[in-house]
C-alpha cells in the first residue's frame, strides 16, 4: 500500500500547448526550443517549435522568447499553519509557491501546536487537500514539541503521510537523541532534516559573528555553531547507516564537513538558501530586520563556498526556508525581531539575476538544483518527458520586475530582496497537472 505524501486541492487537469519556448531540463537532456503539449494534466507530446497543431479545447500559450523548465521543488518552507495564520496560510503560502514557479513544497512542523502527532498530521493533510494550490508535503517533528527530549511517534506519523522528520528552527541538541531517531529511521524510513546549531555557541546571537557584529555591538552566532553540529551529526548518521539532510547551510566549514562525509560514504545531503547565496552580513549594517534569519547571513568567503558547493553538487538543492512574519512583528529593533525571511516568490529570479547572469552559475545547474529537493525526500523529480505529470514553469528571463512593487502572494512581506529589480518573470506554473499560476499581464522586457 502506498501512502500519499503530497496534498493539494483538486483542480481541472490542464489541456495546454506551450509553443516555441526554450525547453530546458538538464536531466532529460532537453535544451532547445520546442512545443510541449499537455493533455489531461500530463505531458503528451514534445516536438520541434511550431510542429504541433493546437488541439481542440486546448489552451495555446505563446512561448517564443520564454524558457520552460521543470517546476521547482522546495524542501523547506514555513506555512505557519496551524496557529499563526496571520503570517501565512496553506492557501497563501501555496499561492506564493505557485507565483514562484514551484510545483511542490514541504512544510516545517514548528507550528502552534507543534506538528508532532498523527491526528494533527492527518488534519493538516486534509486541510491541504482543500486549500493548497500546489502540492504540499509535511515533515513532522523528530522530537515531541521540538524539545529534543523524546521521539515523536515516527512510525505512526510515516503511515499518516509524513515525508520525513525535522525539528527545524531548533537543533537536536543531544547527540544521543539524534542517534535514537536514526535507529528508529530503520523502522519507519523518512529522511531526518536537521537545523544545525549548537546553542552553547550561538547563545543569544542575532547575526553572524564577525566584523559587522563587532561594529554593531550585536551578539554573534559563530560559524562553528553550525559546522561542528554538521560534522557531529554526519558522523552519527554514518555510524548508524542512517540518512540525514542538512538544512540551510550557511558557512564554509559546513560545506567542507558535508563534502568530507560524502566522500566517506555517509548518506548525507545539503541545501542552501537564496539569501545565503546572494547576501552577506554587510547587509545587516542597515539594521533592517528583513536581513535577520537563522542561520544568519555570513561572510563573503562563506557565500563563495556555498556557491562552489552548489556548483559541484556537494549541496544538492536550493531551499528557500520561506519564513513569513507579520509587518508589526518585524518592525522592531533588529535584536527584537523574529528570525526569518520570505523566499518562495523571489528564489529563482534572485539566483538567476545574481548568479546566472554574471556567469557565476550555469542556468542548467540552477534549474537542476531548484528541482532536486524532491528526490532527497523520495519523491518523483519534476521532469519534462512524455508521460510525466505536467510540472512546469514558464519564465520570461528577459523580463524584469521590482520585488514588492505589486505586493506579494504570500500573506507576509518580509522579503530581504524588497525593492530590488530582478530578472526572470514567472509567466505560468503548472503543478501536478494543473495550471496554478498565470501572470495577469506581461511585464515589459528590459531594453
Amino acid at each position: 500500500m502506498s501512502v500519499a505524501r503530497l496534498f493539494h486541492a483538486s483542480a481541472p487537469p490542464a489541456e495546454l500547448l506551450i509553443r516555441g519556448a526554450h525547453v530546458l531540463d538538464p536531466r532529460s537532456g532537453l535544451d532547445a526550443p520546442g512545443d510541449v503539449l499537455v493533455r489531461d494534466g500530463a505531458i503528451a507530446e514534445l516536438a520541434a517549435p511550431g510542429a504541433l497543431p493546437a488541439p481542440e479545447g486546448a489552451d495555446t500559450v505563446a512561448g517564443e522568447g520564454l524558457h520552460l523548465f521543470p517546476g521547482f521543488f522546495d524542501p523547506h518552507v514555513h506555512l505557519r499553519t496551524p496557529g499563526q495564520e496571520h503570517k501565512e496560510t496553506l492557501a497563501s503560502g501555496t499561492a506564493a509557491a505557485a507565483a514562484g514557479g514551484y510545483c511542490g513544497i514541504v512544510a516545517m512542523p514548528n507550528t502552534t501546536p507543534t506538528l508532532d502527532d498523527a491526528p494533527g498530521l492527518r488534519a493538516l493533510c486534509a486541510q491541504a487537500a482543500q486549500e493548497a494550490r500546489v502540492p504540499v508535503g509535511f515533515m513532522p517533528a523528530i522530537t515531541r514539541g521540538l524539545r529534543g527530549e523524546e521521539l515523536a511517534e515516527m512510525a505512526e506519523l510515516r503511515d499518516a503521510g509524513a515525508l520525513g522528520f525535522t525539528d527545524d528552527g531548533k537543533p537536536v541538541v543531544a547527540a544521543g537523541m539524534l542517534r535514537r531517531a536514526l535507529q528508529y529511521q530503520r523502522l519507519c524510513g523518512g529522511v531526518l532534516a536537521l537545523h544545525e546549531e549548537d546553542p552553547s555557541l550561538s547563545g543569544h546571537g542575532v547575526m553572524h559573528e564577525g566584523a559587522v557584529s563587532a561594529r554593531l555591538g550585536m551578539a554573534g552566532i559563530p560559524s562553528i555553531s553550525e559546522s561542528t553540529m554538521v560534522a557531529r551529526d554526519a558522523a552519527i548518521a554514518a555510524y548508524e547507516q542512517g540518512r540525514v539532510h542538512f538544512q540551510h547551510l550557511s558557512c564554509v566549514e559546513s560545506v567542507e564537513a558535508l563534502a568530507a562525509w560524502k566522500a566517506a560514504g555517509a548518506q548525507v545531503s545539503g541545501e542552501a538558501s537564496p539569501h545565503h547565496l546572494t547576501l552577506t552580513d554587510e547587509a545587516v549594517l542597515s539594521l533592517d530586520s528583513r536581513f535577520k534569519m537563522n542561520p544568519p547571513l555570513r561572510a563573503e568567503s562563506d557565500r563563495q563556498a556555498l556557491i562552489a558547493g552548489l556548483r559541484d553538487g556537494t549541496i544538492e538543492c536550493i531551499a528557500t526556508d520561506h519564513a513569513p512574519h507579520a509587518q508589526h512583528e518585524k518592525e522592531v529593533p533588529f535584536e527584537e525581531a523574529p528570525m526569518g525571511v520570505t523566499g518562495l516568490e523571489t528564489a529563482f529570479p534572485v539566483l538567476y539575476t545574481d548568479l546566472v547572469l554574471p556567469g557565476v552559475l550555469p542556468l542548467g545547474i540552477l534549474v537542476e538544483r531548484m528541482t532536486a529537493g524532491a528526490a532527497l525526500l523520495d519523491l518523483a523529480t519534476p521532469t519534462i518527458a512524455v508521460g510525466e505529470p505536467a510540472n512546469l514553469v514558464l519564465l520570461d528571463l528577459a523580463g524584469s520586475w521590482e520585488v514588492g512593487a505589486r505586493g506579494y502572494a504570500s500573506k507576509s512581506a518580509n522579503s530581504c530582496f524588497e525593492g530590488r529589480t530582478l530578472r526572470g518573470v514567472v509567466r505560468l506554473t503548472v503543478a501536478a497537472g494543473a495550471v496554478v499560476h498565470r501572470a495577469e499581464a506581461p511585464v515589459e522586457a528590459l531594453a
Binding site: E209, G210, A211, V212, S213, A214, R215, L216, G217, M218, G220, P222, L287, H328, E331, V332, P333, F334, E335, E336
Partner: protein, 315 residues
Amino acid sequence: MTDPMRHLLSIDDLDRAGIERILDRAASFAEVAGREIKKVPALRGRTVVNLFYEASTRTSSSFELAAKRLSADVVSIRAATSSVTKGESLKDTVQTLTAYDPAAIVIRSPHAGAAQLVARWTDAAVVNAGDGKHEHPTQALLDVYTLRRRLGALDGKRIWIVGDVLHSRVARSDILAFARMGAHVTVSGPPTLIPRGIEALGCEVAPTLDRLEEADVVYVLRMQNERMSEAYVPSLREYAARYQVNSARLRPHQLLMHPGPVNRGVELSADAIDSPQALIAQQVEAGVVVRMAVLYELLAGTGAPVEAVEAVAAA
C-alpha cells in the same frame, strides 16, 4: 551638497570637521554655563522629548538640562512609567509622541538600531542616547571634548580603552570618534570580552595591560557584575588582578577616563579614581554643554554640509 545633519544616530554621521564644529560650539556654551543665568533662547517654543527605555542618570539628566538651557520645552518619558510597560510598541509610542510635534526626540534603548527606527517614523530630529551595545555618540563627543580641553588636539595620541569592550556602546563610539580625531586607539581586556573582528573599527587589540605605559590616555570601561554569572570571566577578583587600572599601573603622565558609573575596586581602584589624573568629573560636566551643542546643531544649526553624511548616504 548642503544636506544639513538631520539626526545624530552614530559617530559615522560626523566627519572630523563636524565633530570640531559641535565641540567648538560646546565650548562657547561652557561660557554661558559660567554665568548666573545659564539659559540661552535658541530653542524657545520648541519641544524636546527624552524617551528612555533604560535606566540612566547622567545621560538623561544632562540631556534634560541641555534642552532646558536652550529654552526648549522638555518632556521626559521613562519606560517604567509609560504605556511602554503596557506593551505598546516602539513605533506606536513614537507616533503618539510625534503628535506633540517635537523638534527632537532623544532616545535611549537596550536595542541596537532603535534610534534609526525612530528616525524612520518621525519628522523630529533624533538623537541616539545609547542603542543597545551599538553606539552612544554623545558620550564619545563629550569624551573628545574633555580630552581636547586637556590635550589640545588628539592627533597622534595613544588612547587605550580597557575592559568589557564586547558589551560597551561607549567603546564603539569612542573608537570611531578618537580615530577620526587622529588618535591611535588600542583596546584591551579579557579575550572573552573583546569582540571578534573589532579591529575593523580602526583599533588595535592588546590582550594584556603589559604595554599600558605607552598610553597617553587610559579609558576604563564599566565591568558589570552580570558578566560573572554569564561566565565571561571567572571572578571579579581575577578580573581586577589582570585588568584593574590602579596607581601601580597608571603612569603620572597618563590621563584617566571612565564613562560612569564606576565600580570602585573592580575596574578602577579608589586611589586612581581620586587621583588628579582622573577626568571623570570633567566628563560629567562636559555632558551638558556637548548635548546643548548637539541639539543646537540639529535644530538651530547653520546647516553646514557634512561630508560624512553624504558619504554614508552615497555608499
